[in-house]
Symmetry: C2
Subunit: 455 residues, 2 copies
C-alpha cells in the first residue's frame, strides 16, 4: 500500500481524531483552562507516539507546556527538519455568536466547525498524519524529523524564548516548517515572505483619585478620558500616518519588486470591505490597502475603558482612562525600540492636569522576512506548485507568530510557513472552521515535501 492509499483509507479516523482534539478547550489566555491546555499537550504526545514518532514528551515551561518528539533514523546524509505548530486556541467568546458550540465540533458542508479547528489543531495534526502514513507504508521517513508543538502561541509565546535557548540541541535543524499557516485561497497556494512583529502596550491616564461628580469639579480639573483621547490622536493622523517620533526609522522600504509581488496578489479592496463591513479602506498615505495590511507597520487601539459604561447618563468625571494598543511591526523594527519611542512620545504629548503611564502588555514578536533565494522556501514552493498545479503567490502576512523569530534568533533558521488554513475560516472569531478537503490535501503536501527533501 502506498502512503496516499493509507491516507485515503484512514481519513475518517483522522477526522474523528481532530474532533476529539477540538473538544479540549485549550484556551491559553484563560487561567481556568490551564488544565485543558495540559490535556491537549498529552493528547498530542500520545498521538505522536501512535504515529511512530519517538521520545514524545510533554515538557514544562514557566507557563503552558511544550511537546517535543522526533524520528531521526533517515541517516546523517539526510537533512533534519523541525516541524512547528500549536495546540492552544483563542478564547471562544462571545459564545452566543456560534452556530454550534465552539468545543462541540460539528461537520457541516465539508467543514469541521469549532474553536481551533483551523488555528491550529487541524493544521498541526496534518504533518503528524503524513509521517504516520510514511512510517506505516514504508517503515521510515525520507528525512530526519523533529516535532515542536507549543501551547502558548495565542498569548504570544511568552515562555518560548528561554525554552528554545535551553533546548537548542534538541531543536537543531537544517530547515524549519510551520504547520501553522495559511494558503491564499482554496486552489491558490502561497509562500509567505514575511510576518509582522508585535508590541503590545497600555496607556493609563490618571486624574482625580476616584470618579468625581462632574458638576462639582468639572471645569476645574482635567478629564482623563479627554486627555487620553488627545494623547491617542497625537499618535496617528486621520490620514493614517503614524506620528510617533522615530516610529518609521528602522523600516526597510518596500522595493519595487516587493510592491510588484504584492500587486500580483488577488487582493481586492471590495472584498475587504464586503468581508469586514468597513465603510472604506484606510491606510497610510502613499500605500495601497494591501500594502498596509501585508507590508507596512500599524498602530491600532484594541480597547478603551473609562468611567461610566452602563446605559444612559452618569455625570462622572472619571478617575482613570485606559487604552490598549498593539503595533504590528515590519523588518527591521524592534519591539523594544518602538515601545520606547511611544513611551517618549506620550511623555512629550501628555496634556496638563493628568499623569500618564505607558505599560508593556504581554505579547512580543520581532518582524520576520525570508531572505531572497531561501532553499527551503524554494522546495516548498515547488511542492505546492505540483499539488495545486499553479504557481504559489509570494505574500506577506499582517499577523505575527512570535516563535518564528525566536527560532530564527536561536537556531539561525528562517522557517517556511507550510500550513493549509485560510483567512476566511474565522480564526479568532465565532464560527471558526477548517476545510476537510484542505485537511486531506495538506497530508499529501507534507508527504511530498518530506519525499522531496529526502531526494
Amino acid at each position: 500500500m502506498d502512503s496516499q492509499t493509507y491516507l485515503n483509507r484512514e481519513q475518517d479516523r483522522f477526522i474523528a481524531e481532530l474532533m476529539d482534539f477540538v473538544r479540549i478547550p485549550s484556551v491559553s489566555a484563560k487561567p481556568e483552562n490551564i488544565p485543558d491546555v495540559l490535556d491537549a499537550a498529552h493528547w498530542v504526545a500520545r498521538r505522536l507516539t501512535q504515529a511512530g514518532a519517538e521520545h514524545a514528551e510533554v515538557m514544562p515551561t514557566a507557563g503552558h507546556p511544550v511537546v517535543l518528539a522526533d524520528w531521526l533514523h533517515a541517516g546523517p546524509d539526510k537533512p533534519t527538519i523541525l516541524i512547528y505548530g500549536h495546540f492552544d486556541v483563542q478564547p471562544a467568546e462571545p459564545f452566543d455568536l456560534w452556530t454550534s458550540p465552539p468545543f462541540q465540533p460539528e461537520i457541516r458542508d465539508g467543514r469541521l466547525w469549532g474553536r481551533g479547528a483551523s488555528d491550529d489543531k487541524g493544521g498541526m495534526l496534518i504533518p503528524i498524519l503524513a509521517c504516520e502514513a510514511l512510517l506505516q507504508t514504508t517503515g521510515k521517513l525520507p528525512v530526519n524529523v523533529r516535532f515542536f508543538f507549543e501551547g502558548q502561541e495565542e498569548i504570544g509565546s511568552p515562555d518560548l524564548p528561554p525554552f528554545v535557548a535551553a533546548h537548542a540541541e534538541r531543536l537543531k535543524a537544517d530547515m524549519i516548517f510551520s504547520a501553522d499557516g495559511l494558503q491564499w485561497a482554496p486552489g491558490q497556494p502561497q509562500i509567505v515572505q514575511a510576518l509582522k512583529g508585535l508590541v503590545s502596550l497600555e496607556i493609563v491616564v490618571r486624574g482625580p483619585r476616584s470618579d468625581q461628580h462632574s458638576g462639582m469639579v468639572g471645569g476645574g480639573i482635567a478629564n482623563p478620558a479627554l486627555a487620553l483621547a488627545q494623547i491617542l490622536a497625537s499618535l496617528r493622523r486621520e490620514d493614517g500616518l503614524i506620528t510617533v517620533e522615530g516610529f518609521y526609522d528602522d523600516v526597510i522600504p518596500l522595493s519595487p519588486e516587493a510592491r510588484a509581488d504584492i500587486a500580483r496578489i488577488p487582493f481586492k479592496d471590495a472584498d475587504l470591505l464586503a468581508e469586514t463591513g468597513a465603510p472604506a479602506t484606510w491606510t497610510e498615505p502613499g500605500y495601497t490597502a494591501a500594502e498596509g495590511i501585508f507590508a507596512r507597520p500599524t498602530l491600532d487601539v484594541n480597547g478603551l475603558t473609562s468611567g461610566w459604561q452602563g446605559a444612559g447618563t452618569k455625570t462622572v468625571l472619571p478617575a482613570e482612562a485606559r487604552a490598549k494598543i498593539t503595533c504590528r511591526l515590519v523588518a527591521a523594527q524592534n519591539p523594544e525600540r518602538i515601545f520606547e519611542a511611544i513611551q517618549a512620545h506620550v511623555a512629550r504629548h501628555t496634556p496638563p492636569g493628568v499623569t500618564v503611564e505607558v505599560l508593556r502588555n504581554p505579547g512580543r514578536a520581532d518582524p520576520f522576512l525570508v531572505p531572497a533565494g531561501h532553499n527551503a522556501s524554494a522546495i516548498a514552493a515547488q511542492v505546492l506548485e505540483d499539488i495545486y498545479a499553479t504557481k504559489p503567490l509570494h505574500t506577506r502576512v499582517g499577523g505575527s507568530i512570535p516563535v518564528m523569530t525566536t527560532l530564527l534568533d536561536t537556531l539561525g533558521v528562517h522557517a517556511v510557513m507550510f500550513g493549509f488554513s485560510h483567512g476566511d475560516e474565522n480564526l479568532h472569531a465565532p464560527d471558526e472552521f477548517f476545510r476537510l478537503d484542505e485537511f486531506r490535501r495538506g497530508q499529501t503536501a507534507y508527504v511530498r515535501l518530506l519525499e522531496r527533501l529526502g531526494d
Copy 2:
C-alpha cells in the same frame, strides 16, 4: 410649647424616621428599583399627612411618581410658597467602597451614613419637620405651603416638564424654595445665584461590523477607537478651550461684579486638589478654577467603551467605540442648540473610514441664573444671616437641578436653594453622609423662613 422645644423633643424620632427613609433603595436609574422609588413616594405622602399637610397624593408620571401635598389656610393675604425636593437617589455602586452598606444607614461621629442621606432624603425631610413643628405648636403655618417632591431628579427629571405643565394650577406659588441644596460649609451659609444647565450625549463610531483580527485587516481599514479619540480631541483643546463651533455663542460673559462675588468665595485650589487627588487644576484659559467650576460651561467625557477591556492583550480592531459626554451649561446656553452644535462639529470632524452617530442621552436642564434684586432670595439670605450669624456668600453651583428651570419656565418663578447639605458629603459617591447638627439647624431655618415670609 414653642416650635424649637418641639423640634428638640422630637429630634431622636426624626433621625429614626430619616434612617427608615434611607433604607428604601429608591435608585431612579435602575429598572429593578422602580418599586422602591414608588415605596419611597408612599413613605413621603404618609409622612406629609402625619405632619399635618393636606391632600398628600402619589401622582403618576410616564416614569417615577411625584408626591404633592399642601396646607393653604394662612389666608389670601399671605403668600403661597412651593417647597421642592426629591426622594430618589443615585446608584450606590461600587458597594465594596462603602464603610457601612448604603441602604443600612448608621450613625457615626454625629453623621448619618447612607445613600441619599444628604442628597436629598435628609434635605427634603427638613421642611416637612419644620411644618409639623409649627402646626403642632401653633395650629397653623404663617404662609400657604405647597409641597412638591419628585422621584426622578437623579436621572434628570425627564417626565417633570409635562407633569408641571399639566398641574400648574396645583403648583402655583409666589415663591419657590428648594430643599435640595447646599450650604457653603458648616458655619458658612450661601445664596445660590446660578445653577448650570445640562446636555448629555453619546458619540458612537463604527467601522467593521464585528471586531476584527488586527493582524488580518489592521493597516487596511480605519480603527474606530482611534477615530473616536481624534473626534474627542477636536472638541476641546489641551488648554481647556472648548473648540466646538458656536459653543460659547450664547454665554453671558461674567461681569466684574460676578467675578468679584466668585473671588470672595473661600474656594482654594489647594483644597480642590487635596479633596480630589487631581495633580493640578485645569480650566479654560483666562479663568480661575473657581470660575471654571461655578460659572463657565464645561464639556466632560463621562465614559469610554471599545473593544477588549479585559486583562492583557487581545489583538482586535474593534467594531465600535463609544464616548459618553455631558456639557454643563451657563446662561443663556440652550441644551438643544449645544447638542446640535456638537452634532454638526462631529459631522465636520469625522475622520475617513468610519461612520459616526451622535445620540442624545437622558438628562437635560436649562441653565438657571437668579435675577438681581430677587425678593425671595433676599429674605432667605436674611434668615441664613440670623441663624449662622454671618453673611451668606453669593455663589454659583456647577451642578444642575433640571426641575428648577422647568418650574421657572412653567410657573415663572425663580426658585431659591434653601438646603442644608454640603459638598463634602459624598453625594453621588460611596460613603454619603448627612451632618445631624445641620439636619437640626435646617429645621430651625425653615421655621424662621416661614415665619418671616408670613410677616
